[in-house]
Amino acid sequence: MDKTQNQAYEEFIKGIWRENPVFVQVLGMCPMLAVTNSAINAFAMGGATFFVLVGSSFLVASFKNLIRKQVRISSFIIIIATFVTVADYTLEALVPTVHKELGAFIPLIVANCMILGRQEAFASKNTISMAVMDAIGMAAGFMLALLTLGSVREILGNGSLFGVDLFGPDFEPWIIMILPPGGFLTLGLILLVFNWFTVKKAQFIDKVAAAERSSS
């Protein structure tokens, strides 16, 4: 029991940091760059993706023995598209303004390779509980990345966060940050920091290992 709990925790936590879908695997770039011009859009997109990924991972893991290998990709897509349609209509009913801003990018969640990738690589080969844990972790990691990018771009590009004005009326907005280049620049900088961190950590581990070898 303890072992499965540990494994479930491991599947959950890897999506947030070590195998973060955006910062490490660099998947799902289309929504990442397109809808992160404000934190609220990023949050809505993250929520929709969360719902779709967890739902379809659960279904795919449940049906994995019924789905023929030859038609698995199309089956996954149909399952994902079902959940995307649900998310699309739900958002339109609950928050019509945000839905309008996200526009075509809600239906495009179907084509988010991060979601299909999780079905193909994980959910179709693991138990239901593990698949759901993995989906929650990955979706949380995706949400974290979207929120980071959305917050940075909204703070610099608009002087506000979640629509709340932060700096007063004299703030000079960085127009580029809410335009498409701002998405590329911010994402590039975050990836840079992430990789730098990974390299430094590896160097540190090597150094400690070398020191231990020489001392023993």
Binding site: F167, D170, F171, E172, I175, P181, L185
Partner: protein, 339 residues
Amino acid sequence: MTEKDPNLLLQHAPLLQQGMTTPQAMRDVLYALLPVTLAAVWFFGLGAILVLLASIAGAALTEWTFASQEKGGESLLDGTALLTGLLLGLTLPPGLPLWMAFLGGAVSIGLGKVIWGGLGHNLFNPALVGRAFLLATFPIAMTTWAPLTGADGFFTVQPSNLALPFMQSGTDAVTSATPLGLMKFEQQSTPLVNLIIGNTAGSLGETSGLLLIAGGIYLWMRRDLDWRIPVSILITVMIFSAILDMVDSTRFPDPLFSVFSGGMLLGSIYMATDPVTSPITPKGAWIFGVGVGLLVVLIRAFGGLPEGMMYSILLMNAATPLIDRYTQPRVFGRGKALT
């Protein structure tokens, strides 16, 4: 770049020492830009020095931050960051808040140079990358031109210069239009004498045609500059704008106005000739220059902006590897053309 590969030391007895090094070339360009810098201070007051210093500080600090990671700050000493900062500063409007100039310098080096792998590896001219970033980020501040202060107002610092970081410059700033802006939006020409001497509104270092050309001649005599690039740019611009001027002389300026207005001379002499981002073959240099010239006139005449020097140089920078590839000279004794 600084690594010495012993396998490449194929020298034979007495060889002349070649004095041209990167720091030497950078010093030459700095000397060439000195009169232009002084003119900027003369025309726009002490605020000009502050803007230049802010952009140089941004560039040097960024270079130092990243260079000290690898080589103990060695690449700061070759003067390239200083030159990039100065060139960027000379393309900025006089009333720009200092923190924006600083940010531009940091972006020039960070996004224009370091991220590509340092000196010699960048695809785009670093100073123009910084300027393009600033123009996209702060379009209003970057197109607000403070008027000339003249000799009386030597100690003037524009109030908008001193805006606090991340804050707007004052909204009540006095502004004036550049010769190109006047031409484009009001069909009003500026006397050629003013353009040559430089007492017109505009970016810090672009106004004085005479001093820019003098610096260019100095660089050409010092063999720091491929004369084909500025010459082909200017000839193309003159021919193309003469044709347009013949078609409709009220809308399109005459050739001499085109050459002496805006960033044309600053860009073609000091930025398009950047040895890293321009073609190395003589034929390639001609193609590059003609391309820049055509794009500038196209943007100025038919685009939304009054000035297009920056974007045309950046666009041709992107084409440079391709030009270099198709203009390689035939290897002696080999087939007809090198593919």
